[in-house]
Structures are given as C-alpha cells and as structure tokens.
C-alpha cells in the first residue's frame, strides 16, 4: 500500500477525469443538484468547495501523524466545519445576494462526502504537495461536473448562460429543467452519457455511439453468438 500511493500528477488528473467526484464517484450530489439552476450559483458553490478542500488538505496533511484512528473522522469533520464557517462568512461579505440565494447549501458543504472521502483517502496519508495536488484535482473535477449540469439546465431551462442570452427570445424555456425535477433528470442523463462515452465495450465510434443509441438504431454486435 505504502509504495502504491499515486504521485501529485496522478492525483491531479485522477481527480479531474477517472475519479471525477460528480460523474465517477457520485459523491456530494446534494449541493450539486441544489445549486445548479444557474451557472453563477454553481460557480460560487464550486469556489467555496475548492477553498474548503485546499485549506483542509493543507491542515490535515500537516497534522496527519497526530491523528488517532478512532477520532480521525471527528477531527476531519470539525476541521471542515471551521473552514466552511470561514467560507460562509467570506461569501456573505463579498457576494451577499448569492449567499442569500444559496442559503443553507454553503453550510451543507460540511457533510459533503467529497471532502471527508479525500481526507480519509489522501490527505491523512500523504504529504503537503500530493495533498494539495489531489485537492486541486478533485476541486477541478467537481467544478467541471457542476458547470456541465448548470450549463445544461440554464441553457435549456432559461435560454441563457450565466445571464447572457444564448438561444434567443424565441426559445420556449423548459421551465422544468430549472425547477427541482430537472436537476435529477439532467444529472441522470449526463451520467448515462458519460458512462456510455467511456464504456470500453460499446465500441463503435465513441463520439457517435451515444447519438446512435438516442436515435434508437441497433448497435452492431460481433456475430459470435449467432452461429
């Protein structure tokens, strides 16, 4: 185990792609779903999560030798709670309207599984540099996931992206995507899309495989069984 720990670069790219917290690990989806009705709020949330992840990476990786096994989860949670309080006050000080909009979801970062999982898997086992690389990778992956969901929901739900008009006034805003059910539907379908595009067994022409499936055409299967 000790010699198999990934390096900084691996940690970073893993967080972005192969261990993406939103689409691969499906962690911390409560705030993910709640704040993605618009791109602006999603970016604020992603910024807060990045801040908390990096800060707890620095602190936890420095005190990792002092942690007692049976108390470590409590220590993780309390550390995260302190940084979330700081992030909450910062958002309230500089982005007051946004903090009113996001309401309880910024404090809910405390119980966001991403951060506790990273504390357990990486921060408490590796030094400062890999921990920060891991935190940045996970935060980047989380931001990418949030942006994908928020863009889909806002563009289709309101016809705008970050407040700018994209699809024009004639677009019949799909209100349901901006409302609560749209969050579940968007995440579910995006998850299926990502699964399909990265599926090793669904061979044919990976960019178009998903389109073929959507159009209902049967994919070609190697005719081994039919003999």
């Amino acid at each position: 185990m000790a010699n198999a720990l990934p390096t900084v670069g691996q940690r970073f790219t893993n967080g972005l792609f192969s261990e993406n917290p939103t689409f691969r690990q499906i962690l911390g989806i409560c705030p993910t779903l709640a704040v993605t009705y618009s791109v602006a709020s999603a970016l604020t949330m992603a910024g807060a999560v990045t801040f908390v992840l990096v800060c707890s990476a620095i602190l936890i990786s420095q005190i990792r030798h002092l942690l007692k096994p049976h108390l470590r989860i409590l220590v993780f949670t309390l550390t995260i709670a302190v940084f979330v309080t700081i992030a909450d006050r910062l958002v309230a000080a500089f982005l007051y309207d946004m903090s009113k909009q996001l309401g309880p979801y910024i404090p809910l970062i405390i119980v966001n599984c991403i951060i506790i999982a990273r504390c357990e898997i990486c921060f408490s086992k590796q030094g400062l540099v890999p921990a920060i690389g891991d935190a940045l990778g996970q935060a980047g992956g989380h931001t990418l996931g949030l942006l994908a969901i928020a863009s889909t929901r806002e563009i289709l739900g309101k016809g705008t992206w970050g407040g700018m008009s994209v699809l024009g006034d004639s677009w019949p805003a799909w209100g349901v995507l901006a409302a609560a059910p749209g969050a579940f539907l968007t995440l579910g379908l995006l998850l299926a899309l990502v699964n399909h595009l990265t599926d090793k067994q669904a061979k044919p022409m990976w960019p178009f495989g998903a389109l073929f499936n959507l159009l209902g055409r049967k994919r070609q299967v190697a005719p081994v069984r039919e003999k």
């Binding site: 006050r89 809910l108 579940f184 499936n213």
Partner: protein
C-alpha cells in the same frame, strides 16, 4: 388545542409532502441512492433518520436558543456577570456550524449506545445505518432550519419553540421515509427490467427520482389552500356551500374578490 392540531397538520403537509427533503431540498440523497435497494432496509433507514433527526434537532434548538443565538439568555447572563454594566449584545452564532456537527456526531453516538443497551432488537434492525447517519445532510439541514427560526430578527409569532422544532424534525424524517420507501419499491421492480447499460445503477435511480419529483410538484400550493381553509372555518363552509361554480376553487373570500376584480 384545536389551534395546535392545525399547526401540526399544516407543518406536516408542508414539510413531508410539499417541501419534501429529497424532492424539493435535495438533502439526504446519499442514503437515498445508496440504501434504496430493498423496501425493508429503506424503511429501517427512514426510521433511523427520523429518530436521530428528532434528537439532534431538539439538542440543537436547546443550544441555539440558550447559548449561541444573538443575545441568548445564558451567554448574555454570563457576559453581564463578567462585565457588569456593559450593553453589548453577545452573538455566538459564528460557532453554529461547529456546534451542530459536534452535536449531531454525539447524538448519533448516544442514540447508538442507548438503543444497543435498552432495545437490542431495534439495534439489530438499524444495523449499520445508525453510524452512517452522522454524515447525512438532512440532519444538518434541519438543524440549520431551526437556527433560522430563532433569534432577535425573527418575528415574535414566527419564533419556533421546542415543540415546533420537534414537529418539524419528525415530519422531515417522515418525508424522507416516504420518499425512500417509494423509491425502494420501484427499484425492487426495476431488477426485472432491462435497463440500458449506461443508465444502470445511479443513473436510472436519478431519472426515476426526477419523475417522482415531478409528481410531488403537483402538491404545490396545497399548504396555502389548507391554511386558507383553517383560517376562517365558519365563513369558509358558508362560502363553499353558496359558492358559484367559477369561484369554487378559491375558498378564501379575499382571493375570490381579487379574482373577480381581475375578470
């Protein structure tokens, strides 16, 4: 007494059905997706959450009301004892998040020990769910809602007492239980269905949850109608009895007048 019953019914309808924790606030999704494979397990999880959330919300109400809210009696009294004659308002609300998370963790531990000692069958039924609940967003969310309804900036009649908090917590847990049991029922049937490869697992669960959330959106506005119904029962019955067909949907006389103005 009747008034109290109205509060309970209104709060139950609005918390458990309309503002359902899963379908409206998106909290508690991790156990909702993780533990909704079998109906009995889902029910166990729902009961455990309901139990813990009530304990944790009561504890956090007590701490918030007496210690951390701005100008709370206990901390203000201690401050005035140390600095007599000072007029500063003591505000410890910055400690809220740390205190809540600590309270939730200890509440889960306490509940676990108590149940193991005095109700072994119940403990066996809860199994691994009890310790898992510490990191359930729902508990923290309810505590934060409680904190929002305590303090000097809250209007006097909107202030939550301990009993309001407990009703809120129980109905929040009830809403969670309803959602997770429905989901588990659907997923048990889903085992026999041929789901596309890419959608298997969490994907199809999320899509079904979205459709369920659409269904629950149909209940929007029910609490307002109920409140109208409760507000003036006598007048209401009269209105409903003599109402013309086009006003039947609006039992509140004021709303009906507004509607007629609009016409």
């Amino acid at each position: 007494m009747l008034d109290y019953l109205r509060i309970i019914i209104l709060m139950a309808v609005s918390t458990a059905l309309i503002n359902n924790m899963i379908f409206h606030y998106f909290v508690g999704l991790c156990p909702f997706i993780g533990v909704s494979r079998r109906v009995d397990m889902a029910f166990g999880m729902g009961m455990a959450v309901m139990f813990v959330v009530t304990v944790a919300a009561s504890l956090s109400w007590t701490v918030t009301y007496y210690i951390t809210s701005p100008g709370a009696p206990l901390s203000q009294a201690i401050y005035n004892l140390v600095y007599p004659g000072s007029t500063t308002l003591v505000d410890l609300s910055i400690l809220n998040y740390v205190v809540y998370i600590f309270l939730i963790a200890s509440a889960v531990q306490l509940v676990e020990m108590y149940v193991r000692k005095f109700f072994p069958p119940l403990y066996k039924a809860f199994g691994v769910f009890l310790p898992l609940i510490t990191t359930n967003c729902l508990i923290l969310f309810v505590c934060l809602e409680v904190a929002k309804h305590i303090g000097p900036e809250v209007a006097r009649d909107a202030l939550w007492r301990l009993d309001h908090t407990m009703i809120y917590a129980i109905t929040a847990g009830l809403g969670f239980t309803i959602a997770i049991v429905i989901m588990a029922g659907i997923r048990e049937e889903l085992d026999h269905a041929d789901v596309p490869r890419a959608l298997r697992g969490p994907g199809i669960t999320l899509v079904i949850t979205g459709i369920l959330a659409l269904a629950f959106m149909g209940l929007l506005g029910m609490d307002r109608k109920l409140a109208d119904l409760f507000a003036k029962p006598a007048e209401n019955t009269a209105t409903r009895l003599v109402a013309s067909p086009d006003a039947a949907g609006q039992p509140n006389p004021a709303a009906r007048a507004a509607n007629q103005d609009a016409k």
